[in-house]
């Protein structure tokens, strides 16, 4: 069982946890990514998330498919929020269950790492001084 979605409303980790819960699960692992109030020393007031929606949903689905292929008893759901999020709000929730904890913990880590590498979602940070910048951490520049 797996499900992924981009959503424009507040995320509810408890609901995703309930979705993967079942009698055969010996472990449920939930990851919640939240908007932090500072980045690289600059105070952040909000983050604006945008996405290439259709591809982002397909890429999320591929990531879950890969996770389930390497741990067949896995149940996994992921929701990523799009739009303007305030400090402290959840941007992503991943919930998985598995008969054993090692597989559950590993799956959550793999899913969030792959999501950050591959899923076409972007964020623009809004700073206290009113400026905004796209986050392209560690990327090299091209000059056209």
């Amino acid at each position: 069982m797996r499900r992924s979605a981009l959503v424009e409303r507040a995320l509810d980790a408890a609901r995703l946890e309930a979705e993967v819960a079942h009698g055969g699960a010996g472990a449920i692992a939930v990851f919640v990514g939240t908007v932090r109030d500072v980045n690289d020393g600059r105070p952040v007031t909000a983050i604006e998330y945008s996405a290439y929606g259709p591809m982002a949903e397909r890429e999320l689905e591929r990531i879950l498919e890969e996770a389930c292929a390497s741990a067949p008893a896995l149940r996994a759901v992921v929701e990523h929020r799009i739009g303007l999020l305030a400090v402290g709000e959840a941007s992503v929730v991943i919930a998985v269950s598995h008969p054993h904890r090692a597989e559950a913990l590993r799956a959550v880590e793999t899913i969030i790492e792959e999501l950050k590498q591959r899923v076409p979602i972007w964020k623009r940070e809004h700073y206290v001084d009113g400026t905004r910048e796209w986050v392209h951490a560690g990327s090299s520049q091209v000059t056209c």
Partner: protein, 79 residues
């Protein structure tokens, strides 16, 4: 051939629109399309981007065809 290319994040801002039209020769590759897009934004400082064809990442030497859904993907930052 004329192709419409979807732009996102810093590329959409730099271009001033979420879609660019480029003209490339028949048999053009993903790399040719990206260069044609960049050529329309002289002087802009942009992060290196990947390209997706029909909603999947495509290698630089992949051929593009009329009707393909082509998108420039700047460094992603989900999570």
């Amino acid at each position: 051939m004329e192709l419409d290319v979807l732009l996102f994040a810093s590329y959409a801002d730099a271009f001033g629109a979420r879609q660019a039209r480029v003209s490339v020769s028949a048999g053009a590759t993903v790399s040719d399309v990206l260069q044609a897009v960049l050529a329309q934004m002289p002087g802009k400082q942009l992060p290196r981007a990947a390209v997706a064809v029909n909603q999947a990442y495509a290698p630089a030497d992949a051929r593009v065809n009329p009707g393909d859904e082509i998108a420039v993907i700047p460094p992603v930052a989900g999570g």
